[in-house]
């Protein structure tokens, strides 16, 4: 497995003996001083030069919109892309619960260190200390920034900001705006972005999809995009490209992600030399509304906060189909309270999800499909009164009723785990730069801060940290060397080549003219991924998945059918391109899951569990980031390891008993 990547040619100094091929560029010095020192020593681009520097930002969610706005404010010429009809509709809009910050407004002992510690522990010690510490450090500035933009966070009667608590931690550090935190934060970033668009510092490309990355001499120099309305293929060049394209949970077909969420941009980047970090790390959220039929198009999250007052249970007897009201107390199994007496219903997401799967596998699941457990509020309604429950969860109960037609005030909710978030993503260094110089990855699409499991309310924090407070500094380090280089002309041969690849692929897709729909194949992929690379993974299953995915790929390229033409608004064509990439990414996720023979966070290898059936981590052999390198369509991807060093936090087995 010799390395011959672009990266090495670009960074020959990394070829020295005993040096890893991956340089995470973590600044020296004590953990608490790294970022401060970095900021005061990083190279800068002077204002006059900034104007001549062009930066492409793909994505307008929290990470992309905040980055595009902040870079435009600094004076860079920015182009920003999203596939929706407005940047305000990025998937970040759907985040409900809240955003963490170490403000310690609650005076309950919170601190930057504690937020850092909780995040590293919550991630089951598979994240980089320096990055997580920086995240905790800038968290406070995010709240200030958003308040200044006019984000209407929840407030107390005294007029100060209110906090709530969230799963897996012991302090109250989550800021929120009703059940619509993501919406309000995104609208804040969108407002800043709109201001820059109006000023002419940022050009917005709505309903445009990036379909290829263009690299020149090993550096990211532009993208090829498709205008989704006219079908026109376009070239855009720049000095640097930032991807902020969100997570890839839709590999599973059903997830809580928006319908359009996809992996195309990061997958193209992977194929152009960006390493993919920990692709198999997927978060499966325990409280979602269960599947109701084959027509199901997506799954809806019911906020984690419900577990504060709801009790999770199943009937003790296998196959008990009585109505929940008819099942007496002594015939119910409150399995989370039984198994985890100290955390009870509030165990972290991965633990709660696995436990639900176990009881359903035992045949105790409820509802028509048997793939659901009850979440009941009867006791808390009795204890706190209906009004309190209504005030806390009214909008969620309403949403549940809209979807299921059942009233959760009177009958327990039925919930089941669903794919929710992907911790894996493009490998990035401390600068958030991928292994392709000049290509950056921000927000959910990078692998960086959440290790093997993400704690609630920390994705919004990360997206905004990356965009508002990290990239504006770190990108200077690369651009300082670019001030003399004009932006490459889009007539460059690399643009010709990339455009041709895109056009050929579209033609190939349009010409298959088979019998199955794109969704048929996407659903097949999703079933395989969920079955073998979902909540529980084992070697025989993963090997089977490897074969099945290969078959799905062949079937896809032989038998899908896309109506209409490529030169028009064609949603089937859009889907087809995305699914083609999901299939390949699914295969890489399976390889990664096969490699990682330990259990950690959301990745549960059935071969690696304790006698009580809890996840067993293996720090001796697996304390590393798996960074996969593309080696061609017909070759196995090459594994690169970034060893994780814990200087400050000492990994222990997580226990929530």
């Amino acid at each position: 497995m010799e390395c011959t990547s672009q990266f090495l040619r670009q960074h020959p100094y990394k070829n020295k003996k005993n040096m890893s091929k991956l340089n995470s560029r973590i600044p020296d010095g004590p953990l608490e001083a790294k970022w401060t020192k970095y900021k005061s020593t990083v190279r800068l681009v002077n204002p006059a030069n900034k104007r001549r520097i062009e930066v492409i930002v793909v994505g307008s969610g929290l990470a992309g919109a905040s980055a595009a706005a902040s870079l435009a404010e600094l004076g860079y010429s920015v182009k920003c892309f999203c596939f929706q009809d407005s940047p305000r509709r990025a998937h970040s809009i759907a985040a409900q619960g809240g955003i963490n910050a170490a403000k310690n407004y609650s005076n309950d002992g919170d601190s930057v260190f504690r937020l850092f510690y909780d995040t590293v522990k919550g991630g089951d010690y598979r994240a980089r200390e320096a990055n997580v510490y920086r995240l905790a450090e800038v968290s406070n500035a995010i709240i200030d920034q958003c308040v200044a933009q006019g984000v209407p966070f929840a407030r107390e009667y005294g007029g100060l900001l209110d906090n709530r608590s969230f799963g897996g931690v012991q302090v109250s550090r989550t800021f929120y705006a009703r059940g619509q935190t993501g919406q309000q934060l995104l609208l804040g970033a969108y407002s800043s972005l709109s201001r820059q668009i109006a000023k002419g510092n940022c050009q917005m490309y709505n309903r445009h999809e990036m379909l290829e990355l263009v690299t020149i001499d090993g550096k990211a120099r532009g993208i090829i995009s498709r205008d989704l309305v006219s079908g026109e293929i376009q070239r855009h060049s720049a000095h640097a490209v930032i991807l902020a394209t969100g997570g890839y949970g839709n590999v599973f077909f059903l997830s809580t992600n928006a319908m359009g969420s996809n992996a195309t941009a990061i997958w193209k980047a992977y194929k152009k030399g960006a390493f993919f970090g920990n692709p198999c790390f997927t978060q499966i959220h325990p409280t979602c509304i269960p599947v109701s039929g084959d027509y199901q198009s997506k799954l809806t999250l019911m906020s984690e906060s419900l577990r504060n007052d709801g009790r999770v249970w199943v009937p003790k007897a296998v196959g008990d189909k009585r109505k929940p009201e008819d099942i007496p107390e002594e015939e119910r199994d409150y399995y989370l309270e039984r198994r985890y007496p100290s955390f009870g219903n509030l165990v972290p997401r991965d633990v709660a999800s696995r436990a639900a799967k176990q009881v359903c596998d035992e045949g105790k699941g409820v509802g028509p499909s048997g793939l659901a457990v009850f979440l009941e509020f009867k006791d808390s309604i009795k204890r706190l009164g209906l009004d309190v429950i209504k005030e806390r969860y009214g909008n969620l109960f309403e949403m549940y009723e809209k979807i299921t037609g059942e009233d959760p005030y009177h009958t327990p909710m039925r919930i089941y785990p669903a794919v929710h978030y992907t911790m894996g993503g493009l490998w990035v260094d401390y600068n958030l730069m991928t292994t392709v110089p000049g290509l950056y990855a921000l927000g959910e699409c990078n692998f960086s801060d959440h290790g093997a499991n993400r704690l609630g309310a920390s994705a919004l924090m990360q997206g905004l940290a990356d965009g508002y407070f990290v990239i504006p500094y770190t990108i200077g380090d690369f651009l300082a060397d670019e001030i003399r280089n004009p932006v490459p002309p889009t007539t460059h041969a690399e643009f010709d080549k990339a455009e041709k690849e895109v056009k050929d692929k579209i033609d190939r897709l349009m010409n298959i003219k088979g019998k199955q729909t794109v969704d048929d194949l996407h659903k097949k992929l999703g079933k395989v991924m969920w079955e073998y690379c979902g909540m529980g993974r084992n070697e025989p299953g993963l090997l089977k998945a490897r074969t099945l995915i290969k078959e799905i790929k062949e079937e896809f390229w032989k038998d899908i059918r896309i109506p209409g033409s490529k030169d028009e608004f064609n949603t089937e064509l859009e889907k087809a391109g995305r699914v083609a990439d999901f299939i390949e990414l699914g295969a890489l996720m399976v390889e990664d899951a096969l490699l990682r023979k330990e259990s950690c966070g959301g990745h549960f290898r059935e071969e690696s569990q304790t006698e009580e059936g809890e996840a067993k981590r293996d720090d001796v052999n697996f304390s590393f980031v798996a960074a996969w390198e593309y080696a061609g369509d017909n070759s196995a991807p090459v594994l690169n390891k970034e060893e994780l060093k814990f200087d400050v936090v000492h990994p222990t087995q997580r226990s929530y008993k």
């Binding site: 929706q84 403000k103 309000q184 407002s191 319908m259 037609g405 508002y468 028009e568 949603t571």
Partner: protein, 253 residues
């Protein structure tokens, strides 16, 4: 529990902006009442693709009632008959067996049809770009708690900020006015101290962008409020008008 109904769909089909467009009828037998409206559309499209026909284009993304992407005019109502609900959250249990359901795009001069049920809402972007923000750069903010804000005001600002920008207000207004959309943003920022310094400039600029984009003027019929999936109140329009009046008087001096 699971029931099925048979419905007929009368759907507006329009190949592109310049096409004249027409209604087409589709039979939809055996629709599960648990399906969402958009899942029913998926089933129809799945069938059309298998028959080698062009599926019905429509906008959607989150399918949770928050992104504002979905935009169907169902049986003469923006997002259908159910109050406070977007199309993606509407479920088939609210329809009758044997019913014919008419589905149209938003119709407004400022929202040209792109294809079938998908429209171009760029005009909304222009309004926001004209003044829907607080002019501050990243990194300048003071501590979040430096400026306490009365809870009642913060809550009202949040009510206004709940707008999802779907355009139902424009589609339901006989004048195709975007006053509800615009006033929600103006009101949110007017209620907060952060928005105060630009309060009056903002209304003037946004109003100008509104009219330029081809939206009609507001005649206070209130259709927007009753059709808004987020139940945004027309009280915000009243606040807008007051501020607009003040701003106009000041700017005339």
């Amino acid at each position: 529990m699971s029931e099925t109904i048979n419905v007929k769909l009368k759907i507006w089909r329009q190949k592109n902006t310049s096409d004249k467009g027409r209604f087409e009828l589709y039979d939809m037998p055996g629709v599960s009442t648990h399906m969402s409206f958009l899942e029913m559309m998926d089933v129809l499209n799945d069938r059309l693709v298998r028959e080698g026909k062009d599926p019905v284009a429509f906008d959607h993304d989150c399918r949770e009632g928050i992104c504002g992407m979905c935009s169907m005019y169902i049986n003469g109502r923006a997002h259908g008959l159910l109050k406070g609900t977007t199309t993606c959250q509407l479920h088939m249990r609210h329809f009758e067996n044997g019913e014919t359901i008419t589905i149209e795009p938003w119709r407004a001069e400022a929202f040209p049809v792109i294809k079938d049920l998908a429209v171009d809402r760029t005009a909304f972007e222009k309004i926001m770009q004209a003044g829907g923000y607080v002019s501050m750069n990243t990194g300048n903010a003071v501590d979040g708690n430096a400026l306490p804000i009365e809870k009642v005001k913060a809550d009202e600002a949040m009510d206004a900020a709940s707008c999802i920008g779907c355009g139902a207000c424009v589609a339901s207004c006989k004048n195709a006015s975007a006053m509800l959309f615009m006033s929600a943003k103006v009101s949110q920022l007017a209620l907060l101290p952060q928005g105060e310094p630009e309060r009056y400039v903002r209304v003037l600029k946004m109003m100008e962008a509104h009219d330029e984009a081809g939206f009609g003027s507001c005649t206070n019929t209130g259709a927007c409020e009753s059709e808004c999936p987020k139940e945004i109140s027309i009280a915000h329009i009243a606040r807008f008008n007051r501020d607009y009046l003040t701003a106009s008087v000041v700017s005339e001096k």
